[in-house]
């Protein structure tokens, strides 16, 4: 393996809700430019981990360093500004907008237009609008959504909605993309398309943190895996190592390993 720098370093992260320890001292490091999957049974703390990373929860203890910068205590919009984007397990599309507008909201951080300039529609605003539209168009194209740009986001079939979320997150040009169960609810064809899309995103230089239950997808697309169970790290390693790990097999994978192989 080549020496790649660490993009995200999580150290001894703890998150408790009342008496329940959702994350009990989780540590891992995500190198840059690869797909890093996080798997584990329901309730293992995967989505909680994402929500802590995004500043939605304030962790009880531990550190989160993104490219050396501490994320703990930052509000979500500041974390996003550092170059982290995400999709959501339960869709959080803006249903009151078109697909293109949704993705243009993703470009928010790349724009500068102030309220006053927008209200007066100064020439530079028109200029920026054109650029945002172009950037959004590029993200739509990467996700093969160009033909749906003008449709209302709420009128799309489920599989497309999930892809719009990815396009919207990509439009921010993030360095780290968090995907929360992107394959949930997709059929086989859509899942295959998703796998290709993930590879394309990685090729574009975006590091992906992937929470997913679909084992064939996870095993075929990820470079490294982290296995969580009851809020703790059970194992960490390359897909082949994880599939051979007896603790993982005992605790979680079971038949899924055979399926994946």
């Amino acid at each position: 393996m080549t020496h790649s720098s660490i993009l995200l370093a999580v150290e001894a992260l703890e998150q408790s809700f009342g008496g329940v320890m959702a994350l009990a001292g989780v540590s891992f490091q995500t190198p840059e430019n690869l797909i890093y999957a996080i798997i584990g049974p329901n309730g293992a703390g995967k989505t909680t981990l994402f929500n802590v990373l995004c500043g939605f929860y304030q962790p009880t203890a531990g550190h989160l360093r993104f490219d050396g910068q501490e994320l703990r205590g930052l509000p979500s919009h500041r974390i996003a500004a550092l170059g982290i984007a995400r999709t959501f397990q339960n869709l959080q599309l803006f249903f009151n907008m078109t697909v293109l507008e949704n993705v243009m909201v993703g470009c928010h951080l790349r724009g500068r237009t102030s309220l006053l300039a927008a209200a007066l529609r100064l020439p530079k605003v028109r200029h920026e609008e054109r650029r945002l539209r172009q950037w959004a168009g590029e993200a739509l194209e990467l996700c093969e959504l160009s033909s749906h740009a003008e449709r209302s986001a709420g009128a799309l079939p489920y599989g497309l909605m999930k892809r719009v979320e990815i396009a919207r997150a990509l439009a921010a040009k993030p360095r780290l993309l968090l995907l929360d169960e992107p394959a949930a609810g997709l059929n086989d064809t859509e899942t295959m398309a998703l796998r290709d899309l993930l590879s394309r995103i990685r090729a574009a230089g975006v590091t992906i943190l992937l929470v997913e239950h679909h084992m064939p997808l996870v095993m075929s697309v990820s470079d490294r895996l982290l296995v969580l169970d009851y809020g703790s790290v059970l194992a960490e390693g390359a897909p082949a190592e994880i599939q051979a790990n007896p603790r993982v097999i005992a605790a979680y994978l079971g038949g899924a390993v055979q399926y994946a192989i």
């Binding site: 939605f56 919009h77 599309l93 803006f94 909201v105 237009t113 919207r168």
Partner: protein
């Protein structure tokens, strides 16, 4: 084109007094409707686009009006300067108020703004030394725009129509911009919006202030145009009426808000003939609109027309298609 609707509307506003010269309905009712449009369009930015409710918007309307009235009558300030200071003061108060208030959501926000509206109304009634109390403030001088005195209904119609078109134009620009999309995103999902790098609290605070500024602008014009103001014009009922205009016309549409404002103004004027039954008919009509056009007058009607149009085109194409297929057979 983006502004097609705007130009059509502007042209009809300009044509009305030409087609109906010296018409009471056009000038006097037009002036009232124009002011209402400014208020509703501003409030719609907050309610329709940011998804925040304000039940105290008459307070900002009143602040603009009283700032102009007090500064011009007691201190002999020129009207435009007084208007500017009124906007500045109202904007600052709105900004300060937004700090604690916009942390609240839904019903709590409604309650807080309602409370604010009541407090301002009480101050207008009680601070008799400054506001003249319940008797109001009179002898507000006519507005002078660089030497051009606005002193008759025709001129007022022109000024208020221009002000109204300006506010519609600003609103249309805002909505269709990075700022407007951010607002709609906050309304759609605050969490997701934050993850796009949008500072939701800042976005809501900004639009609350803008919305208050629209109201203060209308208030200032209102004071000069009426030459006399009293707290009655800025009561809780007015706040509720403003929300009704936004909802009646169709939420989250600039022309919807404008349409609601005009419709409600016309309704008041035309129902006067029914005297005691006015409120009753008024209420019944509002209920009917909400039942049959729940998206509001403007949005509901335009969508209906569009749908019928599309289905007619589609059926025509179907017929063509059938003819072609029979030919092929």
């Amino acid at each position: 084109m983006r502004l097609t609707g705007f130009f059509i509307f502007a042209a009809s506003v300009a044509l009305l007094p030409v087609l109906f010269p010296d018409n009471y309905f056009v000038t006097v009712v037009g002036i009232a409707a124009g002011l209402h449009v400014i208020l509703a369009v501003g409030l719609n930015l907050l309610i329709g686009y940011a998804g925040q409710i304000s039940l105290g918007h008459a307070a900002f309307f009143g602040m603009g009006a009283y700032a102009s009235a007090i500064l011009t009558t007691r201190f002999d300030w020129p009207g435009l300067l007084a208007m500017l200071v009124g906007l500045l003061v109202t904007g600052t108060i709105a900004w300060l108020l937004a700090q604690p208030i916009l942390r609240l959501r839904g019903h709590y926000l409604a309650m807080a703004t309602l409370g604010f509206g009541v407090i301002v109304h009480v101050i207008l009634v009680q601070a008799t030394h400054w506001t003249g109390g319940p008797d109001g403030l009179g002898e507000i001088p006519a507005l002078s725009l660089l030497g051009w005195i606005v002193d008759d209904d025709q001129r007022w119609y022109g000024v208020i129509a221009a002000a109204m078109l300006l506010s519609i134009w600003l609103s249309l620009n805002l909505v269709d911009s990075r700022i407007g999309r951010a607002l709609r995103a906050v309304r759609g999902s605050e969490f997701a919006a934050e993850m796009m790098g949008i500072d939701a609290t800042r976005a809501k605070t900004q639009i609350f202030v803008v919305s208050a500024l629209f109201a203060a602008f209308a208030g200032s014009l209102f004071a000069h145009q009426q030459a006399f103001i009293s707290p009655d014009s800025f009561s809780l009922m007015i706040s509720v009426e403003l929300v009704t205009m936004v909802v009646l016309g169709g939420i989250a549409s600039t022309f919807g808000a404008a349409c609601g404002a005009i419709a409600l103004t016309l309704l008041h004027e035309s129902l006067v003939v029914f005297e005691d039954y006015e409120l009753l008919i008024h209420g019944a009509l509002l209920m009917a609109v909400m039942i049959f056009l729940p998206q509001g007058l403007f949005v509901g009607l335009t969508q209906g027309v569009r749908r019928r149009w599309i289905s007619r085109i589609a059926s025509r194409q179907d017929m063509k298609g059938e003819r072609n297929s029979t030919v092929q057979q």
